[in-house]
Symmetry: C2
Subunit: 417 residues, 2 copies
């Protein structure tokens, strides 16, 4: 056994969660940021890498904000239901086909929403306040200068910044970029995330299993969390517990982040920690947290490697604390938790230990955060019964009932009814 080999002898010492996060954030920072130019229509949810500046005014011309009649504003003074004024309709202005002439005193042009305002006109009277009589229109509303006219550049001016770099593009951000005529945007690349699933005892769902086999669940978990955090699932590799198979899966190029599920600890068949240490570095192995203490963090070349415990709850916890954070940062997102939070009093005490960070699943019931009684690392069903989790920091021995706590609610978009 090499000096680094701790198999079957236990972790000598564990890093704190803060130490682990500090190493991880530093390692992510050292990876050069990568950008790509993509079609605007594919950019929803992507992180803008360069600010978008408009080359045009929007609108590009004074245009009508209503269906109605373009008029000389002053000529409507005093117009009302009881005292309509009569104007001669001299033509139409349609959105794609403006009125070519100029309005003179006593004239109006029928105009549609979005149509150019004819020369000479200075306001639009909405259709509701008009009545057509032969070639004339009766106007029953007094309108002021520029009423119902969208002025050139009032939305966006030439040279103005439309969306700043760093924005995670929302539907309306994409729309505003479309409105200045830009069909492509430069965004941060999404990291490719490889998932390596180890464990000879595992069987895929849908297959027959023998008595001591178990169904593999972590790839199902990670295939949901990785895209949520802005990563692309490069591949899921189901690999036998053999050093050479794991080595090949770690070394194959094409991944920015490699997640290894299972075999992360100090068991006799836990090959991954030693491999990562030899092929690159594994500065963090064993973290003072519950669950997920056998987590490992390292890198091979420019690929961040996270060793996730095989127990599903530990896997989720270690993913949330470390892997998701790395993926979000590589995608140009915030490293902070992607969950909505609420402040609630604890419904029951949580026991913890000084020096250890706890990830405690809770239900939200009657305005309180209720820790789930069954909280073993293997109890995956606890995460489906949970509405979220509470983090008990390393400095705390535990939290008495009624303590106000911050609950991180699992995934915002996937709301239940």
């Amino acid at each position: 056994m090499s000096p680094q080999d701790i198999r079957m002898s236990g972790f000598q010492s564990r890093s704190t969660v803060d130490e682990a996060l500090a190493w991880l954030d530093g390692a992510v920072q050292e990876i050069p940021q990568q950008v790509e130019e993509i079609s605007l229509e594919l950019s929803h949810g992507r992180t803008l890498a360069e600010r978008v500046v408009s080359q045009i005014d929007v609108p590009g011309f004074d245009r009508s904000a209503m269906d109605g009649y373009a008029v000389i504003a002053d000529e409507t003074t005093g117009a009302s239901d009881y005292n309509p004024i009569r104007l001669q309709v001299v033509g139409d202005s349609m959105p794609s086909n403006g009125y070519s002439g100029e309005i003179r005193s006593g004239q109006a042009v029928r105009t549609m929403t979005g149509a150019p305002i004819p020369r000479g006109a200075s306001a639009v009277v909405p259709a509701e306040y008009t009545e057509v009589v032969d070639d004339n229109v009766l106007i029953s509303l007094t309108v002021g200068q520029f009423k119902h006219i969208g002025r050139t550049g009032e939305d966006i001016q030439i040279g103005g910044t439309v969306v700043d770099a760093g924005r995670i593009l929302r539907p309306q951000d994409v729309a505003v970029i479309a409105s200045i005529g830009q069909a492509k945007v430069t965004v941060r690349k999404q990291p490719f995330v490889r998932v390596i699933i180890t464990g000879n005892e595992l069987v895929r769902p849908g297959e027959q299993k023998r008595p001591h086999q178990i169904y593999e669940a972590n790839s199902s978990l990670l295939s949901g969390t990785i895209p949520r955090d802005g990563g692309i699932l490069e591949s899921v590799r189901f690999i036998e517990d053999s050093e050479s198979a794991i080595r090949n899966a770690l070394l194959e190029p094409g991944a920015d982040v490699i997640l290894v599920s299972g075999g992360s600890s100090v068991g006799a068949e836990d090959f991954a920690p030693g491999l990562v240490a030899r092929l690159g570095e594994l500065p963090i192995h064993g973290v003072a947290m519950r669950p997920s203490s056998p987590t490992g963090l390292g890198r091979i070349g420019n690929a961040i490697v996270v060793l996730l415990p095989g127990n599903p709850v530990s896997c989720l916890c270690a993913y949330d604390f470390f892997a998701g954070r790395a993926i979000r940062q590589l995608a140009g997102r915030s490293k902070s938790w992607p969950f909505r939070t609420i402040e609630l009093p604890l419904g029951r005490k949580i026991a913890s230990a000084i020096g250890r960070t706890d990830y405690c699943r809770v239900r939200v019931e009657a305005g309180k955060a209720i820790p789930l009684a069954i909280s073993g690392a293997s109890i995956l069903s606890s995460t489906t019964r949970a509405d979220g989790f509470v983090i008990v920091p390393a400095a705390s021995e535990g939290l008495p009932a009624e303590t106000p706590v911050t609950v991180l609610l699992y995934s915002e978009l996937f709301m239940t009814n």
Copy 2:
């Protein structure tokens, strides 16, 4: 002109937002719910249509929760660092390959996390508290009955409900379904949403535009909001302002929801309202709200039709109020807003009118909701500068500064840094 034709004469009367929502929810309710069986790996974010019941116990056998040594718990009584007890190691239990014999007094079996507990053993001592000496192991920890043993069925029991119908599947929900061996799930079908973009003045981003043309932005907006709400974009159809072209796009089968952008109002080229009324029904046309008053709601056969104003802000507002709500319900989601809310005092007054519902974009600054000054329906950039919006209900004349309001924050996942 038919009696229903209100082109260039203005809306006779407008429905309230509540009336429009009541009709819409009723129409959606009448559409038969559709379900489909899909692969588990494709089910993230989908709505479960049938509860999932386990056919197996998880774990299916008593298993070790630690790497260490399976022992007879009673035999460790009094064991400590200063007083280790010595047991004979008689074999290994690996996750996929258990120990076939039975432990007798004075014996231990080296066991890995997840491995079956050998017959006769009643606890596991973690590797950290052991030391191997030849064929023996020194145990320096007293463990109680069943310590570090995951009991059969402690996670999930045969016949137990794993996830209830109606759940929008989160990553851990998918994982727990995998853990019971199920490879398929029955979920609500996602509605197919057709987007029809009308307007002869529109040019696609990336193309050259003539002076009075404008770049089309609403399809970019809707291609982001529709998937967010659980719909599938069936197609985007850019159609000239001609009655026959719009008619064909409305009648072609394949859409559960049809969104028509532009031509929804009372302009001379607004063909869509009359067409929908003739081909099906258009009970709501004109809603007492700002922006988006020219919104229309109707149906053709089983397809819900929403007429969205062409102005981008109106389009977003009408989508959010009506179209998104219909899509979410058809996808089996909640009809409520998909946005996170916060309560904040208003930084400046909002003017409104009794009888009219307002959708007012706000920025969140220094703990206040600041209404954006430029709030015309055509000012798309206001939505990108906004963090969210405030709804001023029909019963209100407006809200003075410092009024506590509920801010609906645009899209949770697309957080800015």
